[in-house]
Each structure stands twice: as structure tokens, then as C-alpha cells.
């Protein structure tokens, strides 16, 4: 199964024309030329690929690894929320 990192790398290589060697988990986004504005645009572009919806508030991400972690968290949270909005599951879960 393709990992989140591999899918993110594929987007960065195809749409952003990055050299694959630069794309390691530790790579700081700023050093790749992706500032906070660029990060917001990148996250917009990965919404479709990962089937997630970004939260409205801004996030602080420093490295590519942070982006991978952020996406993974979103996937988990939003899958759980989908379960939560299911009326049966909703009933079974404790109220928060």
C-alpha cells in the first residue's frame, strides 16, 4: 500500500516539479521554497488526493514530515467523525 509520504512526494514531483532527492521527511518546507502561504496552497491541493477537508484554522507545519503527520491525523479524525455522525454509532459514543 502506498504511504501518505509517497503520495505527497508524487504530487510534489508531478505538479511542483521538485527533484525527488530533495523530498525527504526531514526537509524543512521553507528550504524547499514553500512558505506559509505556499503551505496553505499545498494543503488545498492535497485535499482531493487524500479525501480530507482542511480545518478552517491555520496550522504550523515546519517539515515535510509534519505535513505527512498532519494529513494522517486528518484522515484518522475525519474517519472517526464520519463514524460519529452515523446515528447508531453516535448513540453508542459518550457525549463530549
Amino acid at each position: 500500500m502506498t504511504t501518505t509520504f509517497e503520495r505527497l512526494r508524487a504530487i510534489l514531483i508531478k505538479d511542483y516539479k521538485f527533484t525527488p532527492d530533495l523530498l525527504v521527511l526531514e526537509a524543512p518546507l521553507e528550504e524547499l521554497g514553500i512558505d506559509s502561504l505556499g503551505t496553505a496552497e499545498l494543503l488545498f491541493n492535497i485535499e482531493d488526493e487524500f479525501g480530507v477537508t482542511l480545518p478552517p484554522d491555520a496550522v504550523q507545519l515546519t517539515t515535510l514530515g509534519d505535513v505527512v503527520g498532519f494529513i494522517d491525523d486528518l484522515i484518522v479524525t475525519q474517519r472517526k467523525n464520519q463514524v460519529q455522525t452515523d446515528p447508531v454509532a453516535d448513540f453508542a459514543l459518550p457525549a463530549v
Binding site: D15, Y16, K17, F18, G33, I34, G38, A40, E41, F44, E47, D48
Partner: protein, 418 residues
């Protein structure tokens, strides 16, 4: 007031992507107008335009390109050319004064009529046509009118005034005139001035079509569809591109050994306040007279005129009458060129492109032709230099006319480098 030299010129246009290439095409009568190859062409009554052969990917890093509408891409490339041409770019020649120049004394003055209309159009398509809410995050940045000027300033670290003028078809003439005023007055020492336009979106082309100002396709010769001053003219053809000029205080240009390409002598600006589209003989004539007054020249100094010459029924007849109103009996002896027959109407970039062409024409002692003028119109009875350039003509001083919807008339007075 200080004298103002033109020391650099850059062009992206339907006639080629350098000032020299565009000049040669204009001189030789090579048209940049043709059928457009785009999916929406079949929904246009006249699927023709003057397109620039330009791929932003060849000029910009992918990350940066994502933020740049085509209008900003044109502007930055033309400005870079102009600065390189002015030998003022640190990347070109590190020991010029550019490296030490106080960049707070350098301004950017850009005209655009429609700004980032391609990006806005793309956003509307997402929302309204595709029914999606996924409008791109950079739509505002790419679409805003001042993006072209801002990117030029960012590219070169220019911290002086950074201004955008939007007066429809006279935008870039206004930008150059306002830059001229600031260099002449000493408010700045150098200016990058000109215009950029990328209006060939589906929405924009349909809107122009709906206004009934666009030329019908000449079935026999699509490239000849724009016919300024000809009896059978049917309108203008939209064009895209940018032209940027480096304006500099004359004395400092001379002191740093810059190659002086010409001089901006004056600028006349009037407003019709009569009708939103209908041109006015009085307003246009007043702008020409005001330009000559600001240059301290009398009528006899004008050797040639670059006409606004759009190829619409209204403009060409009114502009002819305005030239006659200013120059009287001498009007018939002044060559009047309308280069839009070849490069189309670049709207907010038209005036700057035509200044570049006029300055190069004077340098080469050429009077540029008005193409596709085969049927004389009794209402348009000046010397339009029909179809063929004239060579070995000592043209020293020219007017360049730009008139606009909204009624803003801007006229620049240009002098050849001697």
C-alpha cells in the same frame, strides 16, 4: 523639471518577445493575428486574437509560477528584458551602478485594463460552471490588478512607489506619463513603466464580443481582420502581451554611460466626460495639444504620429478629426501609423508597446505602416502610411496616442535618440 531618457525596453507580444523582434514585424507587415486554438473558440463569433508565443514555464520556477497570472508573467519578463537592456540589472553586469543604486529611488508604474482576468475567469468557472467550491487559494493574488507591478518590484527589490493604473485602453500610456512626471520632478530617479494585458479568457472575449467592438473575421485573410482607417474596417482584435520601458533622469543616465534609446518629452492627459464609450474629437485634440505644451513644442515639431487606430468605426473617424483639429492644414502631411492592424489591441499594454515601436522606428529612420488599408474612407483622409513602411525618413519627434473607454485620453511625446 529634469529631462527623462529611455534607457531600456522589453516586450512580450504577438509580434515577438523582444523589442527588436516586434519592431521588425511591425516594419515588415507581419501580422500576429490569427485563429485561436482553444476549446471555447467554437463559442466565439470571431475566434481570432493576437496571441503571444509565450510559455511561463520557460521563465519561472514552478512554485512561483503557481502564483502568477499570465498578465504578471508577461510583465515580469518584459521588465527583466528592459532592465537588462538598460544595462542596469545586477545579474547582467555586476559593476554597473545598479548594484549600488538606492532602490527606494526606483518606482514601478504599470498599466493594465483587465488585470488577472484569466485567473478570475478560472475561479468563476470552478464556482459557477463546475458547481464546485474548490476555488484556488491563489485566485485573489493572481487576479488582483496590481500583481504585475508588485511582482516587478519584488523581483528587483524596488522599494519606491509601486503603482498600477487602470484606465482601459490608455492604461500604459498613463503609467508612462505618470512615471515621466515623477522622474522629471525628482520624486524618483528611475522608473520601470509600461503595461501588461492577458485578456484572452472566455469570459473576457465574450464580453468584448457582446459590446460589438470586435472585428469580424476576414474570411480571405484572417490575419488581416483588423483594418484601421480602412472603409471596410469592422472593429478591433484583442491582443495580449506586455511592454516595459526604463525611464531615467537624463543626466544620471549619461553619467553612468547608459545607452540612451530616446527621450520622453511630454505627456498630455484629458478626460472626455461625455460618454462612457463614444470618443470625443475635443477630448482627443485637447490631449494632443496638452502633450505638446508639456513638451514645450509647437505643432511644427511633430514629424509623425502613432495613432490609437483601433480599427473601430468610431475611433478611427474621431481620431482623424482630432488630428485635423490640432494640426489644421498640416495634418495631411504628417504620417500617421496604426500598428494595431498587426499586434491587435493590447488594451492596457497597447500604449507602451506602441511607444517602444515608435522609438525603434525613429532610431531606424523608419515610418511604420498601417496594414490592411486597401479601401480609403472619405472620413479618414490623412496619410496613414498604407501597407508599406517608409525607409530613410528622418523622424525626430512623434506623438503616441492612447484613448480609452471611460474617456481618458493620454498622449506621449517621444524623441529619437540623437
Amino acid at each position: 523639471m529634469r529631462r527623462v531618457a529611455v534607457t531600456g525596453m522589453g516586450v512580450v507580444s504577438p509580434l515577438g518577445n523582444s523589442a527588436q523582434a516586434a519592431f521588425e514585424a511591425a516594419r515588415d507587415g507581419r501580422s500576429g493575428i490569427g485563429f485561436i486554438d482553444t476549446p471555447f473558440a467554437r463559442r466565439l463569433v470571431a475566434p481570432i486574437a493576437a496571441t503571444a508565443q509565450f510559455d511561463g514555464a520557460a521563465w519561472f520556477e514552478p512554485l512561483k509560477l503557481r502564483m502568477l497570472d499570465r498578465v504578471s508573467q508577461f510583465a515580469v519578463v518584459a521588465a527583466n528584458q528592459a532592465l537588462a537592456n538598460a544595462n542596469a540589472n545586477a545579474n547582467i553586469n555586476t559593476d554597473t551602478d545598479w548594484a549600488q543604486m538606492d532602490r527606494s529611488r526606483v518606482g514601478v508604474f504599470v498599466g493594465t485594463g483587465m488585470g488577472g482576468t484569466l485567473s478570475n475567469d478560472d475561479g468563476y468557472k470552478t464556482l459557477y460552471a463546475d458547481g464546485s467550491d474548490r476555488i484556488k487559494p491563489f485566485t485573489v493574488l493572481a487576479g488582483m490588478h496590481n500583481a504585475p507591478a508588485a511582482w516587478i518590484g519584488l523581483e528587483h527589490g524596488l522599494t519606491g512607489p509601486n503603482l498600477t493604473y487602470s484606465t482601459a485602453c490608455s492604461s500604459s500610456a498613463v503609467a508612462m506619463g505618470e512615471a515621466w512626471l515623477r522622474v522629471a520632478s525628482g520624486a524618483v530617479d528611475m522608473a520601470i513603466a509600461g503595461g501588461s494585458e492577458a485578456p484572452l479568457s472566455f469570459g473576457s472575449m465574450k464580453a468584448w464580443e457582446a459590446l460589438h467592438t470586435l472585428a469580424a473575421v476576414d474570411i480571405d485573410a484572417p490575419a488581416a481582420s483588423c483594418k484601421p482607417f480602412s472603409k471596410n474596417r469592422t472593429g478591433m482584435v484583442l491582443g495580449e502581451g506586455a511592454a516595459m520601458l526604463v525611464l531615467e533622469a537624463w543626466d544620471s543616465a549619461v553619467a553612468r554611460g547608459a545607452s540612451i534609446q530616446g527621450e520622453l518629452l511630454g505627456y498630455g492627459l484629458t478626460t472626455d466626460a461625455g460618454h462612457i464609450t463614444r470618443p470625443s474629437v475635443v477630448g482627443q485634440a485637447a490631449a494632443m495639444s496638452a502633450a505638446l505644451r508639456s513638451a514645450g513644442l509647437d505643432l511644427s515639431a511633430v514629424d509623425a504620429i502613432n495613432a490609437h487606430g483601433t480599427g473601430t468605426q468610431a475611433n478611427d473617424a474621431v481620431e482623424t478629426a482630432a488630428i485635423k483639429a490640432v494640426f489644421g492644414a498640416r495634418a495631411c502631411q504628417i504620417p500617421v501609423s496604426a500598428t494595431k492592424a498587426l499586434h491587435g489591441h493590447l488594451l492596457g499594454a497597447a500604449g507602451a508597446l506602441e511607444c517602444v515601436l515608435s522609438l525603434l522606428a525613429m532610431q531606424h529612420q523608419v515610418v511604420l505602416p498601417t496594414l490592411h488599408l486597401l479601401l480609403p474612407d472619405p472620413e479618414c483622409d490623412l496619410d496613414y502610411v498604407p501597407n508599406l513602411a517608409r525607409h530613410h525618413v528622418p523622424v525626430r519627434t512623434m506623438l503616441s496616442n492612447s484613448f480609452a473607454f471611460g474617456g481618458t485620453n493620454a498622449v506621449l511625446v517621444l524623441r529619437a535618440s540623437s
